[in-house]
Symmetry: C2
Subunit: 203 residues, 2 copies
């Protein structure tokens, strides 16, 4: 029935961190939202920074688990799953609580280079990209890593775009672009390499 106190605190913190931002959320407000006090909060978490990392790590697990389940519930074949990814993101972006990606937001709030927050955020996207790359490989993509990175750029772009301006069709456009990129990565179309910007400084 009632949750572990530690989990209650973590849940309250997670919701506030995500909805209001991390720096904008004080520990007093977290304790109040969890129906407890700062004393108990500091019994389970050494510091606010510790709580922030716990939030991000749990979010990493939860989101990826939820995400894979959603995709699996929508599609069976690898190629269909690769496209369903964009539908799942699109549905996520449509919920009113959507406030962008917790990891991108956290990275924006804690810019210092060696910060563990940045590290956890980078790991999340590594995991995410690995998931996409595996699907890409099962599709028969000729360079799964490249395709995975490109698709993840579309996804991240759609998320931050939707965060700044809601309902601008980012997810649909991302999916349309993904269709083209996926198809192009699977079946080769040899005569599209005639596009060069400045032939002299090609890298």
């Amino acid at each position: 029935m009632s949750l572990n106190l530690q989990e209650k605190i973590l849940r309250a913190a997670s919701e506030l961190f995500y909805s209001q931002g991390i720096r904008a959320t004080g520990v007093e407000a977290i304790a109040k939202a969890a129906n407890t006090t700062k004393m108990s909060l500091y019994k389970y978490f050494m510091s606010k920074d510790d709580l922030v990392l716990a939030f991000l790590r749990k979010r990493d697990e939860d989101f990826r688990g939820w995400f894979v389940d959603q995709v699996d519930g929508k599609a069976d074949t690898p190629k269909a799953k690769l496209l369903a990814v964009f539908d799942v993101i699109g549905e996520w972006m449509a919920i009113p609580e959507f406030r962008g990606c917790a990891f991108i937001n956290a990275a924006a709030e804690f810019p210092l280079a060696g910060n563990p927050v940045l590290q956890v955020s980078a790991e999340f996207y590594d995991h995410f990209r690995r998931y996409i790359a595996d699907l890409a490989e099962q599709c028969g993509s000729k360079s799964p890593e490249s395709l995975a990175l490109q698709l993840s750029l579309l996804l991240e772009g759609a998320i931050v775009s939707e965060q700044m301006k809601r309902h601008s069709g980012s997810a649909e456009q991302a999916k349309q672009a993904a269709i083209i990129l996926i198809e192009h990565s699977i079946i080769d179309i040899p005569d599209t390499s005639l596009l060069t910007s400045n032939p002299g400084e090609q890298q």
Copy 2:
């Protein structure tokens, strides 16, 4: 020689806001960085919020101006410019001061729906997308708005990706994807519509 005091304050604020984050930067630190005091700061700016908006609006102007100049310096034809966009972003992301997109970061720090910060950030990307859409139209793209949105998703994705993990080749991959999308948007390849995720629930 020496700048307007108001501009000196705005410059100091801009650098600190961008490098450390907005909430993490106090007005006292801004005044100190501008070699002045809080009193003068509050003579020229009504509040910190006012200063934040001034920072974002100036950034909007400056960045877009700088960006267009860079692109124009790299390419002549619309199509070449469309690709040069990715080179410019790639070079920008390589400088050590790079800390992501000021507008995405600001949006992450001020999540409340009606916040003017969010509005200014959305306007920046509207302007940016318009610039891309104009180039796309001059290229003969069949749907310049769609292509522009797709390309901007790639760009925004590359920026946040590079912010979380430096030197992961985001800009190059974004450019490779852009080449395919641009080519596909200009010359039609009719037989790539055989890609459907779940035929029953197509939206």
